[in-house]
């Protein structure tokens, strides 16, 4: 597709562009709903900032866990080949689930610190996550990362991807996930507008996205992921997230 483009002499990845477009749209959503939420404005901003910080940290920590043996073996290159080391372990390689749970914990601790209702915070801010992630997945498709298995029937061939094998029809699994996340955004935004309990919104997303991710992982063809037996790390986390979501659904279904 279009992995890179140039603006004012600087090369920018389309992944960055789509991710940031998603984040900006999510912020627009927040600006639209914040007034009728009754949540303090400054606290809403601080919860978002805490969430972003938690997301970066969590996504990086989970990535480093998946490549821990390799990271330990190559740590000595930090001083002899600093640029390459930082490019490999700092500037690229983030895991979505790490970012998601990092964001959730950071927002939770902020609410606890500021003595705010975390359920209200979830109701106000949660729909931003599937919206931003949907655009991120479109960015993945443009880049060619997180690509699917070979399929002559449903496949789309990349011609200049720096990651996916070029000129081979591959299932556009990134777009399936993007469509699922966009649908989840509309449903969670509707639930928030209906003043549903924030934990119920979280539970609904955990179950729905957990199932989407668990099954779309079977369609993926990229091998450089963490695996535990026949299941990928993301599938194991998806299954755990879905079970946790069901527990929350049972607990909060009448609230």
């Amino acid at each position: 597709m279009f992995p890179y483009f140039s603006i004012a002499g600087r090369t920018i990845s389309s992944y960055s562009l789509f991710s940031l477009a998603g984040v900006l749209l999510a912020l627009l959503y927040y600006l639209r709903v914040r007034r009728r939420s009754g949540f303090p404005e400054a606290d809403g901003e601080l919860a978002i900032i805490s969430g972003i910080t938690g997301a970066f940290s969590g996504a990086k920590i989970l990535f480093l866990i998946t490549v821990l043996p390799e990271f330990c073996a190559e740590f000595r290159f930090l001083f002899s080949d600093t640029e390459l080391f930082l490019e490999k372990y700092l500037y690229s390689g983030f895991v979505f689930y790490g970012g998601f749970f990092g964001m959730l914990f950071a927002a939770f601790f902020y609410c606890r610190h500021a003595r705010l209702d975390f359920s209200e915070c979830l109701r106000l801010l949660f729909p931003m996550i599937p919206l931003a992630h949907a655009f991120g997945r479109v960015g993945c498709f443009c880049m060619g990362c997180c690509y699917g298995r070979k399929s002559a029937l449903f496949g789309i061939a990349f011609d200049n991807s720096p990651v996916a094998p070029n000129h081979i029809p591959l299932i556009p699994v990134q777009l399936f996930e993007a469509a699922g996340e966009l649908l989840l955004f509309f449903v969670t935004a509707h639930m928030a507008a209906e003043k549903k309990n924030g934990f119920l919104i979280l539970a609904f997303w955990l179950v729905s996205y957990g199932l989407i991710r668990f099954f779309t992982e079977f369609l993926r063809g990229d091998a450089y992921r963490g695996f535990l037996g026949p299941l990928s790390l993301s599938q194991i986390i998806s299954a755990a997230a879905a079970i946790f979501g069901i527990v929350l659904l049972i607990r909060y279904r009448k609230k």
């Binding site: 960055s16 400054a42 990535f63 190559e74 080949d81 390459l84 490019e87 500037y91 390689g93 450089y224």
Partner: protein, 93 residues
Amino acid sequence: MYEKIPGKNEAVASLVLGIISVGCWFFGYSSILSVVLGIIGMALASSSKKYGYQDSIRTAGFVLSLIGVIGGAFAFLACIACVGTLGVIGAFH
């Protein structure tokens, strides 16, 4: 006698960090600094708002920090959702 205005120090610090954050765009790998300083700048601007300080210094600090984060993230982000490290897989082998 100097009178302390609640939130003003945070607003000024946010403006300074916002300016540094935008400045860091232009020095290659310091884009991560843009992101870190921009996030701290935004947090300070929001804290200032929480204290009730709503001056243009706070707004400028918030906007500059946000621009710093966005610009830094353009250079910093490679691929969040996947584990793949793009062109550097097996770089040390």
